[in-house]
Amino acid sequence: MTFILLPWLELALIFPLAGALAVLAVRSPVHALRWCLGALTISLLFATGAAVDHFIAAEHTRAPPFQDFALDHATAPMAPVLLLLHVLAALGSSKSRVTKSACLRVLASAFIGLAALSTTEGGVLILLLSVAALMPAWDMTSRARPPQAYLAYIVPILAMMVVGWSLLQQPDAPTWAVGLLLAGVVLYGGVFPLHGWMPTLFGNAGFGGALLAVLPLLQIVAALRLVLPIAPDELLTAAAFASLFTAVYAGGMAATQRQARRFFAYLCLSQTSLVMFAVLLHTPAGVAAALCLWISAALSLSGLAFSLRALEARFGPLSLREHHGFYEQVPSKAVCFLVAGLGVVGFPGLIGFVPMELLISGSFEQGLWVSAALAVAAMLNGVAIMRAYFSLFTGKRPTTSVPLRVTATERTGLVVIVVLMLVGGWFSPHVVASRHAAAEAILAGRAQPTP
């Protein structure tokens, strides 16, 4: 089958960089936001083209400096998803608060994320993940928030990844180097009790910046490409159960939080842990579920965050201890919050339903209690979301002197999210088939390890 011969991936990678140059050239932050949004939208189109190109066209060689970048079956659908997250983050930025440096960070994050998804070099992947993990420190510094707490968590994690990977490149690599790399990757996903970087990140960085640092779930790329081919079964199983425990723990924490941002941080932690658990199961059903859940969790959580950000922009930090009554002011945000939230917990007909069912079914061979633990995690996440919904959107209508209705730009974002949640639920068959093929390809690589 033929597809328009364009260097899709290269163009998708170049446009965020070109957008960054344009942002540097303009003075007004509002113009910078427009350039940023334009560059990301174009990059999204090219990333979509690159994903389609991967599935329907033959492999083609790339010219330098892009010869080491290529999408594979596992990461191809994530390229447009990643760019969409960035577009939504830019759409959700308030014009009155946006800064040029924030726009630059969004563009840089888009480039790094896309490069991490498509790089074929392990070392480059580790480098890109490290830069992506350190980007929020820049955000915190620009907001006059000390980043030391975040760095205290994340630097040792990155060091474990870097040292583990470096040791594995040696001809006589010690066996514990795999464990070190695995520990780094799993901790980057957030594992109890060393998960504290995620609530710290959401507490100190801007919501958009924190979101872009967490939601692409780039640690899954590292797990799929670096860890899964070489890690022994016992280590993977142990790490999987640590992730499962974290998913349940974070679900419980999300259900009992008193601040919206911490609620969201723990919800992200729970979802990240579920995806990581599924990857580390290293069975075709588990990895296929992980690849589906990766897409659905990233999109649903970004929809939830989109609503929360818009509320924060209007009403400041949000407490979950009282009922705010925002429904009367912004009913469409309430709908978006609920639909995206239900998408996160796998409500039937929405994007998360099939991945969650696949995950729970796929883990049955580990024992019914594993499926039960997953069902409990989903249940706790569901309780957390409905509690947050009732806290934010029910209660007495707040009185404001200015209208707080959604803007046209925000409405576009809302419509995109709601459509994705619904349509994503109905196009699952094709996605599942392709994810299963990708999972089998990944695990076939594990059968012939190439350390």
């Binding site: 030391q148 707490a149 507490g203 075709p284 429904y327 007909g349 019914l368 599942v432």
Partner: protein, 456 residues
């Protein structure tokens, strides 16, 4: 000339497509940022239910005319993976058609009632969107022939139920009660989800005919006696008990009365509260395969019936009294199912749903009805005579009264055994997390320090 099988397939699809179309029209209005008028909402609703009901009645007529006792509608596999498949499959049989016709008739009545009852109410459109979700959920659950489609309908019913309990959202109590109900629903949904997974493993798919046989309801087939099947049955019973507010989940039912009266009528008087019984009727061979499971269902039903009778005697508002009266009947229906009296349970369910809906919709005009009655007979009706409880000693009367007034202490028991330990654990872990972050220099922790506690 169209053959009967094709006709039944088309009719079955029409039963589901009409409520789906209703929901889609609301969704389209949301996407286009349009707010339909009260008249158009009422008209679309009536049209959708009429189409669906007509299709259901015609399907029943065709089945009777052609002598078919059941007809599966297989729409194919939706998701296929080596260890998993999700199939769209519905069934037309005595149980599904009875329940779906009941649901559509009652929704038609309540829909028409609500267009007047909620006239100019803020949230009019929100009510009907949730009503449409409920209707679709109920139709999908009633016609489902796979556990996944049943789960989809089940969840839609649960969601709409919770959001309608919180319908009067400016007051603090409805959202709180809605959240409580949601928590109970989620616990029971987890049981149903696990049952679905176990069913896939045991019978190789989520289709009910794989599990209980492909015959016509109620003489479907036999299920082998095995520990895994008992576990599967127990998970279904937990799910059903939660949905139907059986003990120990009964505490949510009076809380659900916070919603508007039409939704209380159709949810807790008629349809939603019977969905658990419907599920057990659908899997009746599974219950029949284990004496212990049947005994548990009978015991659960009878204990709930006695409890609901006692609690209902001391309620001081009409909706709560009706809720407990419903629960008592649901308990008896469960006992009938446990005893294997499937036809009786189905007839009981249908009759009870109709009676209770009527009582609920008359509830707001109870005083008016009493005045009319007094005017008609020219005197006050006689007070209720002392019942059997007067034969008890005063001490036991007081105990029984307190037990009934406190609704069997179920809420406080659940709070003491489940809620408080859960909150204690996670608030403690949260304090630990915050402490570590503060020591590492996270300044946001002080900004997030909890304010003086208000009641949650």
């Amino acid at each position: 000339m169209i053959d009967s099988a094709t006709l039944l397939t088309l009719l079955g699809l029409a039963i589901i497509a009409a409520p789906a179309g209703l929901l889609a029209s609301f969704f389209l209005a949301f996407m286009l940022d349009r707010r339909p008028s009260e008249e158009s909402v009422g008209r679309i609703l009536k049209a959708a239910i009429a189409v669906s009901l007509l299709a259901a009645i015609t399907a029943a007529g065709v089945m009777i005319g052609t002598g078919r006792d059941h007809y599966p509608i297989v729409l194919g596999d939706w998701v296929v993976a080596p260890n998993f498949h999700l199939r769209f499959q519905f069934i037309l049989d005595l149980l599904s058609l009875s329940y779906v016709i009941l649901a559509l008739v009652l929704c038609n009545i309540i829909g028409a009632f609500s267009t007047r009852y909620l006239h100019r109410e803020r949230g009019y459109n929100r009510f009907f969107v949730l009503f449409a979700i409920f209707l679709l959920g109920m139709v999908v659950a009633a016609l489902s022939d796979t556990v996944e489609t049943l789960f989809a309908g089940w969840e839609m019913v649960g969601l709409s139920s919770v959001l309608l309990i919180a319908f009067f959202q400016e007051r603090p109590a409805p959202p709180r009660n809605g959240l409580r109900v949601w928590i109970v629903y989620r616990v029971c949904d987890a049981a149903l989800m696990l049952a679905a997974v176990l069913m896939h493993e045991l019978s190789g798919g989520g289709d009910f005919d794989h599990l209980v046989g492909a015959g016509a309801w109620p003489h479907v087939g036999e299920v082998p006696m095995a520990p895994h099947f008992v576990l599967l049955g127990a998970l279904f019973v937990i799910a059903a008990a939660g949905k139907s507010a059986l003990i120990p989940f009964s505490g949510w039912l009076p809380r659900a009365m916070e919603g508007p009266t039409p939704s209380s009528a159709v949810f807790y008087g008629a349809l939603s509260v019977h969905l658990g019984a419907f599920l057990l009727l659908r899997i009746n061979p599974l219950l029949a395969s284990s004496v212990w499971l049947s005994a548990v269902v009978v015991a659960l039903g009878l204990v709930t019936a006695v409890f609901a009778f006692l609690a209902g005697r001391v309620q001081t508002d009409i909706k709560s009294a009706l809720a407990f009266a419903s629960l008592a009947q649901v308990g008896i229906i469960f006992a009938e199912i446990g005893l294997g009296l499937d036809y009786l349970a189905l007839v009981h369910l249908l009759g009870h749903a109709c009676l209770r809906t009527l009582q609920f919709v008359r509830a707001p005009s109870l005083l008016h009805d009493h005045h009319q009655l007094e005017n008609a007979i020219g005197a006050r009706p006689e007070d209720e005579k002392p019942g059997w409880e007067h034969k008890l000693s005063p001490r036991w009367q007081a105990r029984l009264y307190r037990f009934s007034l406190e609704r069997g202490y179920l809420d406080s028991l659940l709070e003491k055994l489940a809620v408080r330990p859960f909150l204690w654990l996670f608030h403690g872990l949260d304090a630990l997390d915050r402490g570590i972050a503060a020591r590492l220099g996270d300044r946001s922790i002080s900004a997030w320090a909890p304010k003086p506690r208000r009641p949650e």
